[in-house]
């Protein structure tokens, strides 16, 4: 009986020691890489923002001047982040993280940048699971299609023409894939409408401090 208890205890102790060792090494690695990983994510975000809005248009710390809204992406559980571009404290443009659930397979996340006059400076797809070779033409790496939004607004083309050609709209679809471009056009249109109705609200709060902004 005693031998069994002794064996069990020693086995448990050894298991415990290895758990602590594993934990220690993992947390050491975490601390060594944490800063670098955060910097990577920040750079990736900056690169995405740079793609939709020219850096010359603003002079604020756009990554930290953010606003979270819950009524932009109504089907999403997470609040949408809006990055605000300002020049000399005047609002210039807003970059919205738009999520549409109407993709062919799951959500499509877009960055939509809209100037205060309501024109788009750029749109990019930053996350999606559309079919490779068909729906993934919304990626800038695969096709120029997404550039069709540059300079457009609710006035050009007209609001009712914000649809793909198949639906009597203005925008091209791809051969073999209508659902994906339809979802993207719809999401961009929604973002424009949201911006039109909430513009003053979006820019109302002043630039958040680095501690507060997230």
């Amino acid at each position: 009986m005693n031998a069994i208890i002794k064996n069990t205890l020693s086995a448990a102790t050894i298991l415990g020691i290895f758990s602590l060792l594993g934990l220690g090494l993992t947390s050491l690695t975490f601390h060594k890489t944490e800063a670098k990983i955060q910097e990577n994510e920040r750079q990736a975000l900056l690169a995405n923002l740079k793609a939709v809005i020219p850096e010359s248009l603003y002079d604020n710390d756009i990554v930290n001047d953010t606003l979270e809204v819950t009524d932009l992406n109504q089907d999403s559980t997470k609040p949408a982040v809006i990055y605000r571009a300002r020049k000399k404290d005047n609002p210039v443009a807003a970059v919205m993280t738009v999520v549409t659930p109407f993709g062919y397979s799951g959500n499509i996340t877009l960055l939509v940048a809209i100037k205060t006059d309501g024109t788009l400076t750029g749109v990019r797809a930053i996350a999606h699971r559309e079919t490779p070779g068909l729906g993934d033409k919304i990626e800038i790496e695969r096709s120029d299609w997404i550039l069709a939004f540059d300079g457009k607004s609710l006035a050009m083309p007209k609001t009712q023409e914000w649809a793909v050609k198949r639906d009597d709209g203005y925008f091209d679809q791809f051969t073999g894939a209508t659902i994906t471009p339809r979802a993207v056009v719809g999401a961009v249109k929604n973002a424009l409408l949201y911006f039109k109705h909430n513009q003053s609200l979006i820019f109302s709060t002043t630039e958040s401090t680095p501690e507060g902004g997230n």
Binding site: I14, L15, T33
Partner: protein, 229 residues
């Protein structure tokens, strides 16, 4: 002694190839082999995990009582994979974004716990290290072969997006094997992975049979020569 090491190499790369023969680790193999670069990335990460976990497990094998052997192995493998994941996130961010969700899955690659239990826990550290290295390279070889097959048939390219792994200079590495190719969706989607793997295993079996048939023939040649003289 040397033959023992060469057996480890041959087993890992060919005779007991974890993907083609043991058919272990199919989940990552089938999911991430849609391009050469993806395959290479996951293959190297798996190799690194196998080398580290095999070596560590061999080194600690005498301190671990049999009853808690498996939990300790799992612990070692999980820690190693987490550290590799963090390191990749920090230093190979582009590749991490593509392979991201598959890296934690390395933990579930049964060939890793398989090698730990079947080999590393019974062998000296140098042999366990070598076994991990060549089992990993064999797995990488399978991933890269299947990856090239699927990338050529699926999108007509080779080495697309190499810059994610080798830096900006590798942007020019992409080879358009078939120009103006509209692609074949089947090869990129999961069924293509299954069909491709099946074909590769069949090819390996053909090669193995051919080699077996040729061996006796090679012995006969000197005899014939002797008779002619």
């Amino acid at each position: 002694m040397l033959s023992e090491y060469s057996k480890i190499v041959k087993d890992g790369l060919w005779l007991n190839n974890q993907a083609f023969v043991a058919l272990l680790g199919l989940c990552p193999l089938l999911a991430v082999s849609n391009t050469v670069i993806n395959g290479l990335g996951l293959g190297l990460a798996t190799t690194m995990t196998l080398v580290l976990s095999n070596t560590i497990i061999s080194l600690i094998r005498n301190f671990v009582p049999d009853e808690v052997r498996l939990p300790v192995f799992v612990l070692v493998i999980a820690s190693v994979v987490t550290m590799i994941e963090l390191a990749m996130n920090a230093w190979f961010f582009g590749l991490y974004k593509i392979l991201g969700i598959f890296i934690p899955l390395i933990v579930t690659n049964c060939s890793i716990i398989g090698r730990a239990e079947a080999y590393a826990s019974k062998q000296r550290a140098d042999k366990a290290f070598l076994d991990g290295l060549f089992m990993g390279l064999g797995f990488t070889f399978a991933l890269v072969t299947l990856g090239s097959l699927r990338e050529i048939i699926g999108s007509g390219t080779l080495f697309a997006k190499a810059e994610l792994m080798f830096g900006e200079a590798a942007k020019t590495w992409q080879i358009d094997v078939i120009t103006d190719y509209s692609g074949m969706l089947l090869a990129i989607l999961p069924p293509g992975a299954f069909i491709g793997l099946g074909l590769l295993i069949a090819l390996k079996n053909i090669i193995d049979t051919k080699v077996k048939q040729r061996k006796p023939a090679q012995i006969q040649i000197p005899i014939q020569v002797a008779q002619e003289q």
